[in-house]
Symmetry: C2
Subunit: 333 residues, 2 copies
């Protein structure tokens, strides 16, 4: 295991609770991991005040100034063009200059993905970086790749997604022999559109525990650890999970309000219902990561509190230590 110093850059201004919870999260991470150093990027004066206010030790923290903030309401492409002095873009530039080993942001997802893809270097032989999302299922979660970064794909890109997803689940999520499946509209090899048929052939010949096609009806049952598809279909699955779960819970709420007995029943089942709702709230499950870059970029949830930021930093360290980028490069040669 690496025991050398690890430097993580934090987008101190990104997220619903920035900068307070980001800074507190940095403090917690530094207490837990003695090999860690953190670079906070954001409004220097404000960050200094906050570090003082929260009594966080300064010796392992560096601050790099950035005067602008990309908010959730910013359009990613416009923000990238117009907010060159934002904490996100400054942070990615530092990462590009190899001033650090990894980067964590809880900011605007679209902007994090777009700016990372443009500013950072791709792994050799990876056509385009892909978005890997933890998709909740009845057992735990699958990683769905690509879930929105590449909406028009060729079969060789699906092949890369499969390899990256396999390596991610094996090395970062520590799943022994992750099952890789191709999202398709039937189980048989000859099913699907041209992309799916061609991808099936390629995937069958790889050494990555390809278990065949998975139909969308089986996705929620957790029979695959890695699910690959183009980013259009992947994005549809992610958003449909969110919407349908929400829709069913709206109906449940409505039924619970119907009469006094239903209300009572709802109260008795409340903790169970909350559990289920949480499970299918994909933002709770583990967020998204961009795979295929030489650098490690972790997108934490927008609503992250200090504990969530600490965990995102921990995941970033795990990513760095598991040397995923190099392993992806090897497998994709």
């Amino acid at each position: 295991m690496h025991k050398k110093e690890i430097i993580i850059i934090l987008d101190a201004m990104g997220g619903d609770h920035a900068p307070d919870e980001i800074i507190k999260g940095a403090g917690l991470a530094l207490e837990e991991n003695k090999n860690l150093k953190i670079i906070l990027v954001g409004k220097k004066k404000l960050l200094n005040e906050k570090l003082f206010e929260f009594k966080i030790k300064r010796d392992l923290i560096e601050i790099v100034n950035a005067d602008e903030i990309i908010t959730n309401s910013d359009q990613p492409a416009k923000a990238m063009k117009n907010k060159k002095d934002s904490s996100l873009i400054r942070a990615l530039e530092l990462l590009k200059e190899k001033r650090a080993d990894g980067f964590v942001s809880a900011g605007n997802t679209g902007a994090v993905l777009l700016c990372s893809s443009v500013i950072l270097k791709r792994i050799a032989n990876i056509t385009r970086p892909a978005l890997a999302t933890h998709l909740p299922n009845l057992k735990s979660f699958s990683v769905l790749i690509d879930s929105g970064a590449n909406v028009d794909c060729k079969a060789n890109m699906i092949e890369q997604f499969a390899k990256m997803g396999y390596i991610y689940m094996k090395n970062v999520m520590k799943i022994n022999e992750p099952k890789v499946a191709l999202l398709n509209i039937g189980l048989e090899a000859e099913k699907g559109n041209m992309l799916a048929k061609e991808s099936y052939k390629i995937l069958s010949e790889l050494n990555i525990n390809f278990v065949g096609n998975i139909e969308a009806r089986d996705v929620p049952f957790g029979i695959a650890d890695v699910i690959v598809c183009d980013g259009f279909v992947g994005n549809v699955i992610i958003k449909h999970t969110e919407g349908l779960a929400q829709g069913i819970f709206n109906l449940l709420k409505h039924e619970i309000k119907k009469n006094i007995w239903c209300k009572l029943g709802g109260m008795m089942l409340k903790s169970g219902l909350v559990n289920i709702k949480k499970r299918f709230d994909y933002s709770e499950v583990g967020g998204v990561q961009l795979l295929g870059l030489e650098s490690v970029v972790i997108k934490a949830h927008g609503s992250s509190d200090s504990r969530a930021i600490k965990n995102a930093i921990k995941k970033c360290v795990l990513f760095i230590e598991s040397d995923v980028a190099r392993k992806i490069q090897e497998v994709c040669e």
Copy 2:
């Protein structure tokens, strides 16, 4: 309104409860609609015995013999090749010869779709017939087209789906000014893959109440009456609805069994839970139809009882009387 005689062909051997419930359904339909005649296709001797057993009047029923049956376990392509004397293929041949105005089957969905597409004539200017499925939502249902017949589409096919879906909802489902939406991964016109972007442009210029893009997360909320996409994505949505609803109900069942209070709560909420489950069981909502053929083909649910068959016949009559095929042809000229 047409008050002339309407002749409907019934696949007497297709469906989980064939031929009994099919025959009884024919009897109910004939009692209700005095302009109706029915041709039953199937094993003649058996059907004669059943008509006698169920005391159904013979004067408006004709029987055409077919010795084979395509079952649910038959592979559609193989069945079409090898079971030329099946009730399904014989029935479609009669329809092709214009011996009747419409056709109802509760048999193997894949086989009904494949054989219909091959044997029957397409409407002029329709590239390929498409599958329209009633997809449940919080308000009632949307029609999702294409939901699996065409897995590789060009934008002009999406255009045809939109026109056919619009005409279907307006004329058969009697929705005043149906809202047509394009399934996409963002609301803005420039979002999506190449197919979606190109389709958006075309749809914007049509006179069919195009309301723009719909994201998968909004699909369950019933904001569009017609949702168009390629058959791969459509099939993913249909099957994901089925699987995710089932998955959430499995979790609910599990929570309800946790302790005595949860069990009690579950009992109090039971009818509500059953309502919701039924609503998202898409097989309950209204089945599937193939649009784009000159003939009217109604696919009833495999589990149809006599009442469901009667309703499918009624829908078939509505289809015929609303002259959908001609209207589609006009709009697609």
